[in-house]
């Protein structure tokens, strides 16, 4: 594999350099029906799960077929998406915020052939390449983070548990039987490069062991003051350690103060936390970002820990499925998971979902904790 230059000259990096041009402008990529009717849409309808029609003032219609996608995607797969868009959609497509792919056509007769084509395509392993769904009062794609495929701080994988969970929730990806839409999200550590803290169901990777200290290298690869300052609970202090008779500057960690956030590891590679037994999953429930009926809400921790169980995370998936089923059977039409839990009371939520309530679920982190304890004699037995 011989090196092939792009034209870049490493001796003169500024020569002919183009920078600060930003992304391609959005309107270069609008399908004609979108460009013509932008800002003039009248209404939309779900014709069936995964299929939308938007009708414009002009009478124009755009039919959208939404399909699920693993956000981890090869160029071969993207080329296949392009092939479909070339065949059915005049070479246009879009992706959604939740990693779905949307194929748009400008007349109804193009919808069925498109769906037929999409549904006919499967991977060699048997899974659908382009399952149609992800709309309305169903369960759409799980937004997620990198996990073990490419990140240095995760406490769980991302693509693996997402695949396992979506297999379990698959029927509801293709249905509209939920009381309201259910948003499931996964973040593989609490840096949360996805916004899982406001999801109906959040799957969160978490560590449970304080950092190990690689004293021999710590002072060489880390700025000790930065590592100390990074700790939100002030559990890290400077320390001198002796290795092979040599005094070295390092740090000491007050383990009982550690909340396992991993912020020190972000600042200092000599403080790794990851551990097969220590790491696992926290389940959080009842968040939302929409302002519909009730204001946006944070998700609440309802299961403090489930061990990582690759490759299919059965306990995590089973618990999610249980919560979804109890919600579907009990919530009122339009009621989100969090609204339902608040209406019936969280004590009833644990009851109905048959989840054990443990001391871990009572907030003891700083000021906001107090407001989550019960300051009333109103409660249910």
């Amino acid at each position: 594999m011989a090196f092939i230059s792009s034209g870049y000259n490493p001796d003169k990096p500024m020569e002919d350099r183009i920078s600060d041009i930003g992304p391609r402008k959005y309107d270069e990529f609008y399908p004609p029906v979108i460009a013509t009717n932008k800002g003039k849409w009248l209404y939309h309808e779900y014709l069936k799960p995964g299929v939308l029609v938007h009708v414009a003032e002009s009478g124009d219609e755009v039919y959208t077929v939404r399909v699920g996608g693993a956000r981890l995607m090869s160029v071969t797969h993207i080329r296949e998406i392009c092939e479909i868009a070339d065949k059915h959609c005049d070479g246009y497509l879009r992706f959604t915020t939740r990693n779905n792919i949307e194929f748009m056509v400008d007349s109804k007769d193009k919808v069925d052939p498109l769906i037929k084509d999409l549904e006919s395509r499967k991977f060699d392993g048997g899974s659908f390449k382009f399952p149609v769904g992800g709309t309305g009062s169903g369960i759409t794609n799980i937004v997620h983070t990198q996990g073990w495929i490419h990140c240095h701080t995760p406490a769980t994988d991302a693509s693996g548990p997402v695949k396992a969970a979506m297999d379990v929730l698959f029927e509801d990806f293709q249905q509209h039987r939920m009381p309201a839409h259910v948003r499931v999200s996964l973040a593989c550590c609490l840096n949360m490069c996805g916004a899982v803290h406001c999801s109906d169901i959040a799957i969160l990777g978490y560590h449970r062991k304080p950092p190990m200290l690689d004293h021999e290298y710590l002072d060489k690869v880390c700025e000790i003051p930065l590592a100390i300052a990074s700790c939100p609970t002030a559990a890290i202090k400077p320390a001198k350690v002796e290795i092979d008779g040599k005094k070295r500057n390092s740090v000491a960690v007050k383990n009982e103060r550690c909340m396992f956030c991993g912020n020190c590891y972000t600042m200092c590679p000599s403080m790794p936390l990851a551990d097969q037994e220590g790491d696992g999953i926290v389940l959080m429930v009842g968040g939302k970002v929409s302002n519909r009926i009730s204001p946006p809400m944070f998700s609440k921790v309802v299961v403090a820990f489930i061990p990582n169980e690759p490759p299919r995370w059965p306990k995590t998936c089973e618990t999610i499925q249980k919560i979804v089923e109890v919600y579907a059977a009990n919530a009122r039409k339009y009621e989100r998971v969090g609204e339902w839990a608040e209406r019936i009371g969280w004590e009833r939520f644990f009851d109905k979902c048959e989840l054990e309530f443990t001391h871990h679920l009572i907030d003891d982190f700083r000021d906001p904790a107090y407001s989550t304890w019960r300051q009333t004699s109103q409660f249910k037995f």
Partner: protein, 437 residues
């Protein structure tokens, strides 16, 4: 024959949901076959090694990626995330495996022509594995070697008129909802504002000068499809001030069952006939709606624009015409001091090109945060530390009741000297003339 055995990953090939394992395997096979004779600039079996190292992580329950490293393209401090494998001898193909963030177009519309060009570039100079898309919104190129970074950047900018996105302590690539492009709820042109601000602040996006990351997200309406209120340091949420437009005939069509409520979103179950009182009027959070005979009435002044009635009856109810947006600030995930939702700073502002008023607010916030923010302190944490009043002061915004959920429950007001008649300088001897020690 696969280079590495992957018995655990293989179990993720079954089941209906698209299998990323099958996709990785198909890419590994594509590279091995190389029908188009691509002169791969990084190891041809790189995807085999991705599968191998991921299998090892499944076995160990731990990641095998090291901390980042300082790699990037000349003149930028973001857009590339250094990544090295901690088992390079076993998986040499991914020993150096850096991420590149490619700034995505607004609302993630694409032409196939453009996507195919990106695919060709990434197959040639990288692993051929992507994220479509990363959490912030960028197209993510997963895995290439250091010598390829400048080459890829050169090709992106010279051949594809395409720049990198943000990473590190700078403005992250802004992201928007589909907005007016295909949604009747959008109260402003999310793509236009997102693009304008992205272009205006290219320097802030590429060259880290901030205490920490900073995110803009643009939601066209209070439904919040890009979750700006949960994750953007400045969240731009479309809203309006005048009446919801009502088509009374269409209201009757919903009542009569001619139109499906919620645009057919509940079609998977028999919820019984549509009941406008139960499903709309009684669920209105401000109780500002009622029926007078066959006419739906809305007391606009009392409406808080939650979108519920419009969502349920999109063919009958439409957003008003006096449109703009609300700016909320300080949202973030839990690291470090707990999660924060965006707090309302600007209740209403017009979103019209060239958006000067919006830029003024942004720049006032940045001036303050860059001056006062500590290393790795998000805007929301600074607001908590110095107070919401301080934010109002630096942005020169007058306090209004809309800023709070409720007024404070303690009287510990930090009065300023100039607010108190006569100031704070007093003569204790004069005081003692009337009050013995």
């Amino acid at each position: 024959m696969a280079k590495h055995e992957t018995p655990m990953l293989d179990q993720l090939e079954s089941g209906p949901w698209p299998s990323f394992v099958s996709d990785l395997k198909q890419e590994a096979a594509n590279r091995a076959k190389n029908e188009k004779n691509v002169e791969h600039q990084i190891p041809q079996d790189v995807v085999e090694d991705i599968l191998g190292v991921l299998e090892l992580s499944f076995k160990h329950g731990r990641t095998h990626w090291k901390h980042g490293g300082i790699v990037g393209v000349f003149g930028y401090g973001g857009g590339v995330i250094g990544r090295y494998c901690d088992q390079p001898e076993t998986f040499p193909g991914v020993a150096h495996f850096h991420t590149m963030r490619i700034a995505q177009p607004g609302a993630k519309f694409y032409t196939t022509d453009y996507l195919k060009k990106l695919c060709d570039l990434w197959e040639f100079r990288g692993s051929g594995i992507t994220n479509m898309h990363g959490s912030t919104g960028d197209i993510i190129f997963l895995g290439t070697t250091t010598p390829q970074l400048e080459e890829i950047f050169y090709e992106l900018t010279h051949k594809h008129n395409q720049d990198l996105g943000g990473s590190g302590s700078n403005l992250r690539t802004p992201a928007d909802c589909i907005g007016e492009a295909r949604c009747q709820y959008s109260c402003y042109d999310t793509q236009a504002l997102c693009y304008t601000l992205t272009q205006e602040y290219q320097d802030e996006l590429h060259r880290p000068a901030f205490p920490y990351k900073f995110k803009f997200k643009f939601d066209g309406c209070p439904n919040g499809c890009v979750a700006s209120i949960a994750r953007a340091d400045i969240s731009f949420i479309g809203t309006w001030k005048d009446d919801i437009k009502v088509d009374q005939e269409a209201v009757q069509a919903y009542i009569g069952g001619e139109f499906l409520p919620n645009a057919g979103a509940h079609s998977g179950r028999d919820w019984g006939p549509f009941d406008i009182k139960k499903e709309v009027i009684d669920l209105c959070p401000t109780e500002c709606m009622w029926m007078e005979g066959k006419t739906l009435k809305i007391d606009t002044k009392e409406c808080n624009r939650c979108m519920h009635c419009i969502n349920v009856m999109p063919r009958a109810l439409r957003i008003g015409d006096d449109r703009g947006l609300s700016m909320l600030v300080g949202a973030k995930a839990p690291i470090l001091d707990g999660a924060q939702m965006g707090s309302l700073l600007v209740p209403f502002i017009k979103a019209e090109d060239p958006y000067d008023e919006i830029k003024e607010v942004i720049e006032a916030i940045w001036d303050w945060w860059m001056e006062e923010g500590k290393n790795r302190e998000r805007l929301g944490e600074l607001i908590k530390r110095q107070g919401f009043q301080k934010l109002l002061e630096v942005t020169n915004i007058a306090p209004v009741p809309q800023h709070v959920q409720e007024p404070r429950t303690n009287p510990y007001i930090f009065w300023k000297e100039e607010e108190v008649e006569g100031g704070w300088d007093r003569d204790v001897n004069e005081f003692r003339k009337h009050h013995q020690r």
